[in-house]
């Protein structure tokens, strides 16, 4: 969605600039002469049928302003314009989601990690906690910096859930502190009886 919006922003930016440039040179050329013949503004107005455009817009505004039922078509056009404008603003202002979780970035280069190995590293760290039998971790980078780390772990029946959660969080600090990750840990009791 963001990629589409960004591509649209590029296209619209280019088209707007081209339209303005062409309009500028056309108006400049049609300023050479006077009256309504030759390269004159009067001739340009007749080529562009500005009188007809004026009447059409005036009629449309009159219809919109007159009392009566809700103008469905006009309302839909307005909604479409709003949505298109919002899509353009999204493409302009919302940064693309990072694929990497950045550890540090300066003139010497960037230190970063991909999502999957970082999640696997988190799983390994969590599985080292006493009372944890299995862990699954997912990393989701944020749009600006850092990311979210979601861990689902299974504990043994005898393990205290509060202590296990605290131990998991402590164990994960090795990843969450340097990579600016926000950890969300869910520790559930193991369902299988025998493994």
């Amino acid at each position: 969605m963001i990629l589409l919006a960004r591509a649209l922003v590029r296209l619209v930016s280019f088209l707007l600039l081209v339209i303005l440039a062409v309009a500028g040179i056309v108006v400049a050329v049609f300023c050479i002469g006077t009256g309504t013949s030759g390269p004159s503004l009067g001739k340009l107005a007749s080529i562009l049928h500005l009188a007809s455009v004026r009447d059409t817009v005036g009629h449309w505004l009159g219809q919109l302003e007159s009392s009566g039922s809700v103008a469905v078509l006009a309302g839909l056009c307005g909604l479409g314009a709003i949505l298109f404008g919002l899509l353009l603003l999204t493409g302009l202002l919302v940064p693309r989601r990072e694929r990497l979780v950045t550890l540090a970035s300066d003139g010497d280069g960037t230190l970063a990690a991909r999502r999957r190995p970082l999640g696997q590293a988190a799983e390994t760290l969590v599985e080292q906690v006493r009372g944890i039998t299995q862990a699954r971790a997912r990393v989701r980078p944020r749009r600006r910096a850092g990311g979210r780390l979601r861990v689902r772990a299974s504990r043994t029946r005898t393990a205290d859930p509060t202590q296990v959660s605290a131990a998991v969080n402590e164990q994960l600090r090795e990843l969450t502190d340097p990579f600016t990750l926000t950890a969300r840990v869910e520790v559930a009791r193991e369902s299988a009886r025998v493994k």
Binding site: V12, S13, A28, G75, L89, G107, G109, P117, T124, E174
Partner: protein, 202 residues
């Protein structure tokens, strides 16, 4: 691993194109809201007082040929048109994407007796060897480009992961200096975790 990459060089002037699009988007939303309110039969005087749509229309409707046909007026309009063509045309030209290949031979010397060049693969191999000297790294693969050197590493230990990445970066930088190659930013990315070494004893 495909080592060649295409990058796109963006001009800073692209900002002005984006600014124009921003204004266009805001205008679209603003007048879209006005049209919706008009369709819902909000009083036209209220809409005109906050958006000025009827005032603008009446002004444009009242323009005659006599208003714009004077010599001075035409000169001003022509000047503004030419300026708009030059400025917006140049900005439009700068908006055109210019992709380029980033992986080239590194030219160290260009003298009368010949050229001294280093192939990208040699620099990549140097970086890979340097990174793999870290005991926590089981595999490394480099990708040299004009702007930076990227090293993707696979680790076998997750303890001190941040320190491992920093150490790999330092090793590669030192290695470049040791071989009298130009120093450039070294990006180190954790690209894999060797799960055959998953069990770690505390």
């Amino acid at each position: 691993m495909p080592r060649q990459r295409i990058r796109q060089r963006n001009s800073p002037l692209v900002f002005f194109g984006r600014l124009l699009t921003f204004l266009f988007a805001v205008a679209l939303i603003w007048y879209g809201v006005m049209v919706v309110l008009g369709a819902l039969k909000v009083a036209p005087s209220t809409l005109n007082s906050i958006s000025g749509y009827r005032t603008a229309y009446n002004y444009l409707e009242g323009l005659t040929l006599h208003d714009v046909d004077g010599g001075t007026t035409r000169a001003i309009i022509a000047g503004a048109g030419c300026l708009a063509f030059l400025v917006f045309g140049y900005l439009a030209f700068k908006e055109i994407p210019r992709p380029h290949l980033t992986r080239h031979d590194l030219e160290l010397a260009d003298g009368e007796r010949g050229d001294v060049t280093v192939e990208p693969r040699a620099i990549e191999r140097l970086a890979e060897t340097a990174a793999q000297q870290d005991p926590a790294i089981s595999n490394a693969s480099g990708r040299y480009s004009q702007d930076d050197l990227t090293v993707n590493v696979t680790v076998r230990r997750v303890r001190n992961l941040a320190a491992t990445l920093r150490d790999a970066q330092q090793r590669v930088t030192d290695s470049l200096q040791q071989h009298e190659l130009p120093t450039l930013p070294v990006n180190v990315t954790l690209a894999g975790y060797d799960r055959t070494h998953r069990r770690e004893l505390n």
